[in-house]
C-alpha cells in the first residue's frame, strides 16, 4: 500500500496501459472476456481517483498535491513531473468516470473488439496525462498521444464518411499543435527546463522590453500566445475552428463521441486555463475582448448551427460548440479581470461548465447512439412520436436534454449562470450577445425532443421487424451515473465547486 499511496497518480495514469497490454494477450474470439476485462480494468482508475479525491486536501486545492517527479530526458532537462490541483482533479474524475461508461456503452461493438478496447484504454492514458502533467514537454507528448487512438476509433469503427472525418480531425489538430510545439521548444530553450512552474515564474519575471533572440519579449510573447491559443482553440473548438467537430462526431462510434465531447474537448479548455492564462496574463488580458468575441460567436452560431440540423447527432455535436463557448467566455472574463471576484466566479463557472458539459454531452451522444443502433438512422425527420414506444428512453432523453439546455435544478444552469455572472461585470456587451445563443439552446433542444419523441407517431417503428425496442438495462446503467451527477450538481454543486473554487481563487 505504501507504494500505491506514494505513486497514486502514476498508477492511475498507467494502469489503463497495463490493462490494454493484458487484453492484448487474451485469446482470440473471446469478445465477452475482452469486454468485461476492459470494463473492470477501467473501473480501477475510477476507484483510485475516488481514493485520490478523499485524500486530496480541498483547502489547499490551489497547490499541486500527490506530486511525482522523475528524470525523463536529462539532456534537455525535461522531467516526468505530475501532480493534481483542484482543477485537474475534477478533470481526472471526469475522465476516469466517463471511460468505464464509454466502454460499457461499447458492449454492442462487434468488430475487432480487442483492438477497440485497447485503443480506448490508451486514449484514457493520453487524456489523463495531459491533465496531470506539470512539465511542458510531457504535456505535449500526452497531448499528441491522445490523438492517435481517437483517429483509429473514428477511422475503423466510424460510419460512412469516416475517412474524411478522421483525416480532418487528425490533420487539423496536429496542424494546430505545430505552433504549440514550437512555442514549447522556445520556452524550453529559453529557460533550460520544461518545468511549468519554473517557466511561469521566469517568463513572467522577464520585462517586456528585454531582448531575447533578437526580439522584444513582448513580441515573442504575443506570437507564442497566439500559437498556444490556436492550438487550444482548435481543440475546444472555438468558432471558426469548429468545423472538424460535427464531422468527427457524426462519424465516430457512439462511445468515441462520448469521450470526444466529454473529455477531449476539455483538453483544449484545460490548456487555456493551465498554460495560456498563467503564461500570458498580460496578453490574455489584452486580447480578452477577442477571445470573448470568438466565444460569443461559438455560443451563437453553435446554437444556430445545431438548430439548423436534421441529423440528430450533428445537432448534438453543434451543441458542444455552443456549450464550450461558455467555457471560453468564462476564461476570457477571468483573463480580463485577473485577481478579482469576477475572475474567480467566471473561472469557477468555466471549470464547472467543463465538467457539466462532459456529463451532458456524453449522455446526449450516448442516447443518440441508442436510437441509432435500433433504427440505423439519425435523420430527425424519420422519427416522430416515439414516446409511447420507448417511455423510459423518452424520460431519460428529456432529462438529459434539459440538463444540456441548462434548466435550473440540473447541472448546466449553475455553471452557465456563474459564467454569465462573472462575465457581465467585465464583458457586458459580449455576455448580452451570448444570450441569443442561450435562447436558441432552447430551440435546438426542443427541436430534438419534438422530432424524436413528440408529434404523430411514425408507424414504421411501431410494428414488424423495425419495431423499436426499449432501452435495455446495460444502457440504463450507463445513464444512471450521469443523471445522478447532473442532478446532484444542479441541486448541491458545492461538493465539486469547493475543490474548484479553492484552486481558482488561489490561481487567478
Amino acid at each position: 500500500m505504501d507504494f500505491l499511496s506514494s505513486h497514486l497518480l502514476s498508477v492511475i495514469l498507467f494502469f489503463p496501459v497495463f490493462a490494454a497490454i493484458v487484453i492484448g494477450f487474451l485469446p482470440k474470439g473471446e469478445d465477452k472476456l475482452v469486454r468485461w476485462t476492459a470494463l473492470i480494468a477501467s473501473l480501477v482508475p475510477l476507484a483510485l481517483t475516488l481514493v485520490l479525491w478523499s485524500n486530496f486536501d480541498a483547502n489547499a486545492a490551489g497547490t499541486f498535491q500527490f506530486e511525482e517527479n522523475y528524470i525523463w530526458y536529462e539532456t534537455i532537462n525535461s522531467n516526468f513531473h505530475i501532480g493534481v490541483d483542484g482543477i485537474s482533479l475534477s478533470m481526472v474524475l471526469l475522465t476516469t468516470l466517463l471511460t468505464p461508461l464509454a466502454i460499457l456503452a461499447s458492449f454492442s461493438v462487434k468488430e475487432k473488439v480487442k483492438a477497440y478496447m485497447m485503443l480506448f484504454l490508451f486514449l484514457e492514458m493520453g487524456m489523463l496525462g495531459v491533465f496531470l502533467s506539470m512539465d511542458l514537454l510531457i504535456f505535449f507528448v500526452f497531448w499528441e498521444i491522445g490523438l492517435v487512438p481517437m483517429y483509429f476509433l473514428i477511422n475503423q469503427w466510424g460510419s460512412k464518411n469516416r475517412n474524411y472525418a478522421s483525416l480532418k480531425f487528425m490533420i487539423y489538430t496536429v496542424g494546430g499543435s505545430l505552433g504549440l510545439l514550437l512555442a514549447i521548444q522556445l520556452l524550453g530553450v529559453l529557460f533550460g527546463t520544461y518545468d511549468l512552474a519554473e517557466i511561469v515564474a521566469g517568463w513572467n519575471a522577464l520585462s517586456d522590453s528585454t531582448i531575447v533572440m533578437g526580439m522584444y519579449v513582448s513580441t515573442i510573447k504575443t506570437i507564442t500566445f497566439w500559437a498556444f491559443v490556436v492550438a487550444f482553440a482548435i481543440k475546444v473548438p472555438v468558432w471558426p475552428f469548429h468545423t472538424w467537430l460535427p464531422d468527427a462526431h457524426t462519424e465516430a462510434p457512439t462511445a468515441g463521441s462520448m469521450i470526444l465531447a466529454g473529455v477531449l474537448l476539455k483538453l483544449g479548455a484545460y490548456g487555456f486555463i493551465r498554460l495560456v492564462l498563467p503564461l500570458y496574463p498580460g496578453q490574455s488580458e489584452h486580447f480578452a475582448g477577442w477571445l470573448a468575441f470568438l466565444a460569443v460567436m461559438a455560443i451563437v452560431f453553435g446554437a444556430f448551427g445545431a438548430y439548423g440540423q436534421y441529423d440528430f447527432k450533428r445537432l448534438v455535436a453543434y451543441s458542444s460548440v455552443n456549450h464550450m463557448g461558455f467555457v471560453l467566455l468564462g476564461i476570457a472574463a477571468a483573463a480580463k479581470a485577473y485577481g478579482t471576484a469576477n475572475a474567480h466566479i467566471a473561472m469557477n463557472g468555466a471549470v464547472l461548465q467543463m465538467f457539466n458539459h462532459g456529463l451532458s454531452a456524453a449522455g446526449m451522444f450516448f442516447l443518440v447512439g441508442v436510437i441509432y443502433e435500433r433504427t440505423h438512422t439519425r435523420d430527425l425527420r424519420k422519427f416522430g412520436g416515439l414516446f409511447p414506444l420507448v417511455p423510459i428512453y423518452g424520460g431519460i432523453l428529456i432529462f438529459t436534454s434539459m440538463a444540456s439546455l441548462g434548466l435550473p435544478g440540473l447541472n448546466g444552469f449553475v455553471s452557465e449562470f456563474l459564467v454569465v455572472r462573472g462575465a457581465w461585470g467585465e464583458l457586458a456587451g459580449y455576455t448580452a450577445a451570448g444570450m441569443l445563443g442561450l435562447l436558441f439552446t432552447g430551440a435546438y433542444i426542443l427541436k430534438g425532443i419534438k422530432n424524436v419523441l413528440h408529434g404523430p407517431m411514425n408507424e414504421e417503428w411501431a410494428h414488424g421487424e423495425h419495431k423499436l425496442t426499449e432501452i435495455n438495462t446495460r444502457e440504463i446503467v450507463v445513464m444512471i451515473p450521469l443523471m445522478a451527477l447532473m442532478l446532484s450538481l444542479g441541486i448541491w454543486p458545492s461538493w465539486l465547486l469547493t475543490v474548484i473554487n479553492n484552486a481558482v481563487t488561489a490561481l487567478f
Binding site: G308, H344, P388, I398, F417, V420, G442, L446, P493
Partner: protein, 731 residues
C-alpha cells in the same frame, strides 16, 4: 415544528410525488393520484400553517420568517440561498396552496378516473371514449380514462413544486429556479397530448416565448449580483440585500444615460422582461392563448395558481428596484414603461377576448388582460392593489377555468351520446341552456364571471379592481385609469357574452341538450373556489368606503402594505373611481347580456361582427401578431440556422480548410511533376543509373575470362600508378 422548517419543506411533497410516480407507481392510476393529491394536500396544510402563523405574528413585516444556508462556494465567501415568508409571499402562499390543491383534486375527475379504458385511445392523444354494454345488452359510449393518467399527476406535481420554490425563496436565484422548472412543466403539460401537432407546437411556443423573457431576466440577475459585490464579498441575490436602502441608493445614483434610466431602473426592467414573458404581457403574450391546448386543469394551473401569477409576483417583489428614486410624484422611467405595457395589454387583450368563440379562448385573453391590470397597478406604484388583484384573480380565474373544463366535460358527454364528433365541445356557439343541465357549474361560473367583471360590492374582483382605479385616480394617472376603465368595460361585456352564450337561453345543439353535470371531484373545487372568489374581497375593503367609518380595518392593506416602504400615503375615498368601476361593470354586463340573449342558432352571425365589420376581423385574428412574428422572427431564425450557418460552416470555413488541402496538394504535385520526376528521378536518379549502366556495359568488355589479359591490365594499371606517383609525389 419550527415555521422555518415547514417553509423549507413546502415544495417537497409535490416534488417527491413527481419522483415517486415517475419511478415507481406509474403503472397504477389509483396510487399515483393518491400520492399526487395527497402531496398537494400536505403542502396546502403546510402553507396554511405558515400563513396563519404569519398573520398571528405582531409586526410581521419587520420580522418575517427567514432562514438561509450556504450554497455555492465562490471566491472567499459563499452564495447563500434561503427561504423567506413575509406578508407578500404569505398572501401568495395562501392562494397557491388552495388553488393547487383544488386543481389536483379536480384533475381526478377531469381525467375520468374510474372510467374504462378507451377503445382506441393512444398515449399522446386525448381519450376518445369507450364502449360499454349495460345489463340489457345496449351499447353506450362513455368517457374513457386518460391513457397517461399517472404521468399527468407527476407533471403537475413538479409544477406545484416549482411554484412553491418560487414563493418561499428569499432570493432571486432560487426564485429563478422555480420559475424555470415551471417553464419546463408548462412545456410538458401544454404539450401533454404530444401526438397532436397543435399541442406539440403550443408547448414549444410557450417554452420559447417565455425563454425570451428569461434570458433578459438572467442578465438582470447577473447585473444585480455583480452590483452587490461592494456590500457582500462576491455578491448576493437575497431580497434583504438587493432591496436594502444602502444598495438601492448606490444604484439610483448610477445614471445609464438612456431614457433617464438609473441602474436600478434598468435592472428592474430587465427582470420585468422576464415577467412579460412569464405573465404573457404584450409583446410576449402570444404563447398563452395557445396554452389551452393542454388539459383544462393545466390551464387553471398556468392561468391562475402558478405560472402567470409568478410573473406578477416577481414584478411586485422587485418593486423597490424599478421604483427606486421615486418620491411619490410622477413616475420613474421604468415605472412608466411597466404601467404602459400593463395598461396597453389590459385593453388590447380585452378586445381580442370579445371575438373568441372558444370557451377557454375567452378566458385565456381575459387572463392576459387581467394581468395587464396588475402590471399597470404596480407600474403606478399601487403596490397593495396589484397584490390584492393578484390574489383575487387567482381565485376567480382558477374557478372560471375549472368551470369551463366542467362545461367542456359536460359537452363531451353530449358528443359521445350523439356520436357526432364534428361538434366542437369547446365552441360556445354549440352550447346554450346549460344552466339547466349543469346547475353547480352554472352558479359557480356565474360567481366567477361576476368577480371577473367586477360586479359591485359582493365579488372579490370588484374590490381589487376598484382599488386599482382609486389609486390611479388619487395619484392623477388618468391615462392609466381611462385605459383600464375601458378594458374593464370590455371585460364585463365579454364575460356576460360568454355566460349568455354558454349557459343561458336554449340548447343550440343536441349535444348541449345531452350535456350533464360532472362528478364531485370536479364540482367540489368549483364550490370551494367560488367561496374565495366572493369572500376574499372582503378582507380588502377600505376603512373609509363611501366615506363611512367601517367597523373593521382594511386587513389586506394593513398586512401586505408593510412589506415595502411606499413614498405615497394612504388614499382617501373618492366617488369618481367608484362610480366608474360600477358603471363599467354593470354597463358591460348589461350590454353583453342584451346583445347576446337572442343568439339562438349555432350558425348565427355574431352580433358584434355585424356591428364592427372589418375591425371584428382584425381582433378575431388576434391583431395578426402570430403571423407578424412568424415573418419577422421565426422564419429568419430558421433561415439563419439552416441556410446561413450551414453555408458559413460548410462553404466558407470548410472552403478555406479544403483550400489548404488543395493548395498543399497542388504544391506537392507540382514539385513532384515539375521537379521530382524530371530532375531528381529522371535526370539524377534514372540518369545516374544509366551512367552506371553504360559504364558497366562498357566495362563488361574487359571481362574476358583470360588470366593473361587481366595480368596485362594489372601491369598497365601499376605502371600508370608509378608514373603518377613519380610526378605527383616525388617531383
Amino acid at each position: 415544528m419550527a415555521t422555518e422548517n415547514i417553509i423549507w419543506l413546502l415544495p417537497l411533497p409535490p416534488l417527491l410525488a413527481f419522483v415517486i410516480i415517475v419511478l415507481f407507481t406509474n403503472k397504477s392510476n389509483k396510487l399515483s393520484h393518491s400520492i399526487g393529491v395527497g402531496a398537494a394536500a400536505l403542502s396546502w396544510a403546510g402553507a396554511m400553517t405558515v400563513f396563519f402563523r404569519a398573520i398571528g405574528t405582531e409586526h410581521f413585516a419587520e420580522h418575517p420568517f427567514t432562514d438561509s444556508i450556504p450554497w455555492l462556494p465562490l471566491g472567499d465567501g459563499w452564495l447563500e440561498i434561503g427561504v423567506r415568508i413575509d406578508p407578500l409571499s404569505a398572501a401568495v402562499l395562501f392562494f397557491v396552496g388552495i388553488t393547487v390543491f383544488m386543481i389536483f383534486l379536480y384533475s381526478v375527475g377531469y381525467h375520468n378516473f374510474g372510467q374504462p379504458k378507451g377503445d382506441h385511445d393512444k398515449k399522446g392523444f386525448p381519450p376518445h371514449g369507450a364502449t360499454v354494454e349495460d345489463e340489457h345488452g345496449h351499447k353506450h359510449t362513455v368517457p374513457s380514462v386518460e391513457p397517461m393518467y399517472a404521468r399527468f399527476f407527476a407533471f403537475i406535481g413538479l409544477f406545484a413544486a416549482g411554484m412553491y420554490t418560487l414563493v418561499i425563496s428569499d432570493n432571486l436565484l432560487t426564485l429563478f429556479v422555480g420559475w424555470e422548472i415551471m417553464g419546463l412543466c408548462s412545456y410538458l403539460l401544454i404539450g401533454f397530448w404530444f401526438q397532436k401537432e397543435s399541442a406539440r407546437n403550443a408547448g414549444i411556443k410557450a417554452f420559447m416565448t417565455t425563454r425570451i423573457g428569461d434570458v433578459f431576466m438572467l442578465l438582470g440577475l447577473a447585473w444585480l449580483y455583480t452590483a452587490t459585490e461592494k456590500l457582500t464579498g462576491t455578491g448576493s441575490l437575497a431580497y434583504k440585500v438587493i432591496f436594502s436602502e444602502e444598495f438601492l441608493h448606490d444604484l439610483v445614483a448610477l445614471d445609464m444615460h438612456f431614457l433617464g434610466l438609473s441602474a436600478a431602473g434598468a435592472i428592474g426592467l430587465l427582470l420585468f422582461i422576464g415577467a412579460v414573458g412569464k405573465s404573457a404581457q404584450w409583446p410576449l403574450h402570444v404563447w398563452l392563448p395557445d396554452a389551452m391546448e393542454g388539459p383544462t386543469p393545466v390551464s387553471a394551473m398556468i392561468h391562475a395558481a402558478t405560472m402567470v401569477s409568478a410573473g406578477v409576483y416577481m414584478t411586485i417583489r422587485i418593486f423597490p428596484l424599478f421604483s427606486a428614486g421615486w418620491d411619490g410624484h410622477g413616475l420613474t422611467t421604468a415605472m412608466s414603461i411597466i404601467a404602459f405595457i400593463g395598461a396597453f395589454t389590459a385593453l388590447f387583450a380585452a378586445t381580442i377576448a370579445v371575438a373568441q368563440n372558444d370557451v377557454k379562448g375567452v378566458l385565456a385573453y381575459s387572463t392576459i388582460s387581467q394581468l395587464g391590470f396588475m402590471m399597470a397597478a404596480i407600474g403606478i406604484g399601487a403596490y397593495v392593489a396589484a397584490a390584492f388583484h393578484l390574489v383575487t384573480h387567482a381565485f376567480f380565474k382558477a374557478l372560471l377555468f375549472l368551470g369551463s373544463g366542467s362545461v367542456i366535460h359536460g359537452m363531451e358527454h353530449g358528443v359521445l351520446h350523439t356520436g357526432d364528433h364534428s361538434v366542437d365541445p369547446q365552441d360556445m356557439r354549440n352550447m346554450g341552456g346549460l344552466y339547466k343541465k349543469m346547475p353547480i357549474t352554472f352558479w359557480t361560473f356565474l360567481i366567477g364571471g361576476a368577480a371577473l367583471s367586477g360586479f359591485p360590492l359582493v365579488t372579490a374582483g370588484f374590490w381589487s379592481k376598484d382599488e386599482i382605479f382609486a389609486d390611479a385616480f388619487a395619484h392623477g394617472h388618468y391615462w392609466v385609469l381611462g385605459t383600464l376603465a375601458l378594458a374593464a368595460f370590455l371585460t364585463a361585456f365579454y364575460t356576460m357574452r360568454q355566460i349568455t352564450m354558454t349557459f343561458l337561453g336554449e340548447a343550440r345543439t343536441p349535444e348541449a341538450e345531452h350535456a350533464h353535470e360532472t362528478n364531485w371531484t370536479m364540482t367540489t373545487p368549483l364550490v370551494v373556489l367560488s367561496i374565495f372568489a366572493v369572500g376574499f374581497g372582503w378582507v380588502g375593503i377600505p376603512e373609509d368606503f363611501l366615506t363611512l367609518h367601517m367597523p373593521f380595518e382594511n386587513w389586506f392593506h394593513g398586512f401586505v402594505g408593510h412589506t415595502v416602504h411606499l413614498p405615497t400615503h394612504g388614499i382617501e375615498f373618492s366617488w369618481w373611481p367608484l362610480l366608474i368601476s360600477i358603471v363599467v361593470a354593470l354597463g358591460g354586463m348589461g350590454i353583453g347580456y342584451l346583445t347576446y340573449r337572442n343568439f339562438n342558432a349555432k350558425d348565427a352571425v355574431d352580433p358584434m361582427r355585424k356591428l364592427l365589420g372589418p375591425v371584428y376581423h382584425f381582433i378575431e385574428n388576434k391583431w395578426y401578431f402570430d403571423e407578424a412574428y412568424d415573418v419577422l422572427f421565426v422564419k429568419p431564425a430558421i433561415w439563419i440556422s439552416e441556410v446561413f450557418t450551414e453555408k458559413m460552416d460548410k462553404g466558407v470555413i470548410d472552403g478555406i480548410l479544403h483550400s489548404f488541402g488543395t493548395i498543399s496538394f497542388a504544391i506537392g504535385s507540382t514539385i513532384r511533376n515539375q521537379f521530382d520526376t524530371p530532375v531528381i528521378n529522371e535526370l539524377i536518379g534514372d540518369g545516374s543509373a544509366e551512367v552506371v549502366q553504360i559504364f558497366g556495359r562498357w566495362l563488361r568488355k574487359a571481362q574476358t575470362g583470360r588470366i593473361q589479359q587481366y595480368m596485362l591490365s594489372a601491369l598497365g594499371v601499376l605502371f600508370i600508378i608509378f608514373i603518377a606517383l613519380y610526378y605527383l609525389v616525388l617531383a
